[in-house]
């Protein structure tokens, strides 16, 4: 079982990101789950979304998760959210920030000794999609760090997932995904 927790602000697209990832993974024959904690969500409120991936049908519906990957798509959440909750010794963190990985760890000592990767999904999405919607670039970064799928396969499937959007936005998302894939460190 592969488990992923997203830390986001409501409106940044973590739910869409989690569901999009589940959709792509499902096409490879694996079983998936994507869900989120909302409450009465207000835009900008800190929230979490989740993915489970397994070779077997996923029966577990508990919200509790000890994640393999933690994806943080808002740069401020590493200072205000409990983003290391229930971490495992080998939990991998991919964090949106304008800082370098070393600078980030220096500013948030909780990350010391952890497997930490950084990428500026906010800047990438602003420069490509034209809005701070950091969800799809984070998936590009996840593909690089996890080696889950080849980029061509992933992008091909994301085009299908995003098919209801205007072509211009889909193209911009593909550039954002590729940039995050190339830039994550």
């Amino acid at each position: 079982m592969l488990e992923i927790r997203w830390h986001s602000r409501a409106g940044q697209g973590a739910v869409t990101g989690a569901k999009g990832l589940a959709d792509v993974v499902s096409t490879t024959g694996k079983h998936v789950q994507a869900f989120a904690f909302y409450g009465s969500a207000k835009r900008g409120a800190a929230m979490t979304a989740y993915n489970r991936v397994d070779d077997q049908v996923i029966m577990n519906h508990e919200k509790f998760m000890a994640p393999d990957y933690v994806l943080v798509i808002d740069p401020a959440l590493v200072y205000v959210a409990d983003f290391t909750a229930f971490e495992k010794p080998d939990t991998v963190y991919i964090i949106t920030t304008h800082l370098s990985t070393q600078e980030l760890i220096a500013s948030q000592p909780k990350l010391e000794g952890k497997k930490v990767y950084t990428v500026d999904c906010i800047k990438i999405s602003q420069e490509t999609i034209g809005k701070a919607i950091p969800n799809t670039p984070m998936l590009g970064a996840l593909m690089k760090v996890s080696g889950m799928y080849e980029m061509d396969f992933f992008k091909e499937n994301m085009i299908r997932v995003l098919k209801k959007l205007p072509q211009k936005i889909i193209d911009a998302n593909m550039i954002a995904i590729q940039r995050a894939y190339d830039e994550v460190k």
């Binding site: 989690a18 569901k19 589940a22 959709d23 499902s26 079983h31 998936v32 789950q33 994507a34 869900f35 989120a36 909302y38 409450g39 009465s40 996923i58 029966m59 577990n60 519906h61 508990e62 919200k63 509790f64």
Partner: protein, 406 residues
Amino acid sequence: MADTMELRDIEVWDGNMAASHALRQVQVDVVAAYPITPSTPIVENYAGFAANAYVDGEFVMTESEHGAMSCCIGASAAGGRVATATSSQGFALMVETLYSASGMRLPIILNVVNRAIGAPLNVNGDHSDMYMGRDSGWIQLDAYNPQHAYDLNFIAFKVAEDHDVRLPAMVHQDGFMTSHTAQGVHTMTDEQGFNFVGEFQPMNDMLDLDHPVTHGVQTEEDWHFEHKARQQHALMTAVIPKLEAAFDAFEALTGRRYNLVETHQMEDAEIAVICMGTSVETAMEVVNELRATGIKAGVVGIRVFRPWPMEQLAAVLKDVKAIGTLDRSSPHGTMGMLFNEVSGSLFNTDTKAVLTNYIYGLGGRDLTKAHLVGIFNDLKANMDAGKPTTPLQQYIGLRGPKLSFF
């Protein structure tokens, strides 16, 4: 003629999307709705299908849930296939009209996305609304995941609209835990889905002007009791055979099997939990892990909540030594519903299992695998002692001091 939608064999849908597509595929004539979290996307998606010509029927926006169900009642009495969706406070506002729908024998399908009922206000999932509906005369089916939410809608239409049944049916799913959780859902083609249910066959429809009928009449002590007795007779005798036939037909079509009472590892189980919704599946996973350590644990899931499958449940529990009933609704002054129903189902049998009750998950509080392991440990101690070793009713996952009664 509505456009056909091409679906992949497996779509990644949440429970709401799954229910929306089921409503689209059976081509409902009238959906009248007043959306409420977490069921909103069911009618929102459906309205999108209607606007994009995937639906021939009418989509009616009403001023309240009371109005939505009232509109459904009118449309159903007129002679159409009718459905809607609601949750929680909206369900509560519908209650008066739920009794009208069942009393008038109108086969309306209501998707209930189970949610807590305030105060305090809470949008998350528990079973308070589902429990509130249990004396309303509706058939109640319970989904544990998005696949079930899709499948059970087809079964609900097929059974409710059968002329030997003619009763409304609710399809329940857990708010957020199913309704907003995307999982792989095996789909039927539009043709397969529609043909499983078939064309709507009206009965005593008001728009059949050659055969005028009256619906929603007044009866006092002269006839009210006889009407209610006939309603109960249909629920008690007609529904279960029709459900079993529908489950068989659905399995033949899709390979997916549903049962009145779902069981997991019950063949030789000594201890078992009984629950509903997503908890059933989480408990199944816990049982698989406990079995690996040699503990003979099992799970019973209630699939058909009304009519209550008393005989089937008693048969499944025949050899069990200790049972935990898990209720996701505050019983407010008594034992949990499942404790009382299971007691009633076993009292006149030879089964003398130790029976205890757990209240959990109110307002969406997580039921973890660790909680379930704790419950199974209690049950094992009860079995070994041959009597309860804990209070009869315990609160699980509650913060602060432990709470228990009796």
